[in-house]
Amino acid sequence: MHSEATARPKTAAPRAVARHVERSYPLWFYIPGGLVYVVLFIVPTLLSFYFAFTRWTLFDSTFVGFDNFIQFFAEPGLIGSLKNTLVYGVVTSASKVVLGMLLAVLLSGPIIARGYLRSVTFFPVLVSAVGVGLTFQVLLDPFNGVVNQVWTAITGADGPGWLTNPDLALLSVAAIDVWKGVGLATLIYIAGIAAIPNEYFEAARVDGAGAWQQFRSIILPLSFPATSTVILLSLIGGLRSFDLIWSTTQGGPGFSSDVIASVIYKQYQAGFYGLSTAGNVILFLVVTAIVYPLSRWLNSKETSL
C-alpha cells in the first residue's frame, strides 16, 4: 500500500488533481460543526448588537438608542466592573505566566519525585471553579478560617478579611484563580520546554553556560510559543471570568469585586435583558480590543524568532 503511493508519479494533469482533491476532502465536512456554531454562536452575537439598544422582555423589544450604554457608564457600580475586569484579567494572566514558567522549569529538571510534583500541581485544575470558590471561602473565613488561624499564630495579630474587605476582595479572588489555573499554565510550559531540542542544552554545557545562562538564552526565548499560548488563554479566561467570582463573593462586598460577567448575570436575573446584553457587547469590545491586537503582535514575534 505504502510503496504504491510513494512510487506514484506526480504528473497527473492539474485539473484531474484538483478534482480528486475536491472529492477526497469534501467541503460539506464543514457543515455539521459550522451549523451548530453559526446558529448558537454567530447568530446570537450578531443579534446582541441590536438587542443591546433596546428595552427587551424576550417577547418584544423597544428601541431605546444608547440608553443602556449611558446607564452602564453612569452608574458607579456598573462602571467599576469594567475596571475590575481589567485588573483581574491582567493580574491573573501575568501571575500565571511567571509562576507557570517557574514551576515548569523546576519540574522539567532531573529532580526527585518529578512525576508526583507534576500531578499535584495539576490537581486544582480538576476541581470546578465553584468547588474551589466554596473551599476558599471557608479557608479564608476572617475569624475561624485556616489561613487567618495560621496568620494569627505567626504574627499574633488578627488577619485581614480576605473576601470581606472591599480593598482586598478582588485581589483575593484573583489569587484563588491563580492557585486553580497555574497547573494548566505549567502543563503548557512543560510541553513547550520538552519540545526544545536537547542539542541546545548540550552545546551550552560544552561552552560552560550555567543554569541561569541556559534559562536566559535557551529556555526563555525558545518557550515563547508556550508563553504566548498561556498569556492569551489566561487573559481571555480572566476577562470573561464568572464562576469563581460568583461562588466566592458574588461581586461583593458592595460592588467591589463585580466584573462585567457578574454584572451581565445580575441584570439578567433582574429581568433587564437589554441592559444585560449591552454588558455583553461591552465585554465583547473590551476582550476583542485587548486580545486581538495582542495575539497579532505575539504571532509576529513568534515568527521572527
Binding site: 467541503l27 460543526g33 446558529v39 443579534l47 424576550l58 510534583l117 510541553a191 465585554l283
Partner: protein, 275 residues
Amino acid sequence: MRKSARWGIGIGGILFTTVFFLVPFAFIFTMSAKTGPEAARLQFSWPTEFVLWENIVAVFQARNYMLIVAFINSFTLTVFSVALMVVFGAMVAYVLDRRKSKLNGLINAAILAGLIVPPAVVPTIWVMQSLGIFKTLFGLILIEVAFGLSFTILVMRAFIATIPREIDEAAIVDGAGPLRLFFRVILPLLKPTIVTIVVVQSIFVFNDFQNPLYFLPGDANATVQLTLFNFQSQFVTSYNLLFTNILVITIPMLVMYLIFQRQIVSGMTAGAVKG
C-alpha cells in the same frame, strides 16, 4: 545537575506543593469526614469521629436523590458534547488543512472569533427558545459544542498537518471514499490529540457552571455543579456535606486525569504548543 541540587530542589518542591496544593485538598477530605457540628468550627484537624461514609450517603439522599439525577445529567452532557466536539472539530480541521479553498480565510476568522468573543447570553437564550431547545439537555449539549469547537479545531489542525499526505493518497488509490478515508484512516491516527482534547474539554464541560446556570435552569435538570448550593442557605451551611459534595463530584475528573496524565503532555507537545 549535581546530586545535592536534585535532592534540594526536589525536597523544596515537595514542601512548597504540600503547603500550597495538598493542604487545601487535605482540608476538603477531613471536612467531609467530620460530623456537622465539628465541621462548623472550620478547623484543619483530623475528625474525632470519622463519618465519611455516612456523609456520602447523606449527600446522595439529599433533596430526593438530586445528586444521582445530576450525575446522570452531567455524564450525558459531557460524553455527548465532547464526542460531537471531537468528530465535528476533526472534520473541519482535516478539510481546512488538506484543501485550500476560498472558505479558508473565513473559517480561520471564525475559529479566532470563537476563542476570543464572549458568548452573548440573552440573545442565545432567545435563539434557543425559538428553536424549542431552551432548558433541554440537548440544547445545552449543542451549546457546549458551539463554544468548544474553536479550541478543538486549533489543537487538531496543528496535529493533522504532521500526518503525511502519502497516507491519504494510498487510501485513495485503494479506493476509499471521503467518509471511509476520514473515519477509517485519519480519525484513528488522531488518537494522541483526541486524548488531550477529551481530557481538557471533559474537565471544562463537567466543571462548567455558567452555561448550565443560564441555559439549563431548574432543579430537575441540575448538573453536579449546581448541587453544590444544596447545602448552603443564607443562615445555615452544612459544611461537612458541602465538602463531601465537592469531594464526590471531583473524583470522576481526578480518576480520568490519573489514567491519561502521561498522554496529555505528549498530545500537547504535538498539537497546541508547537502550532
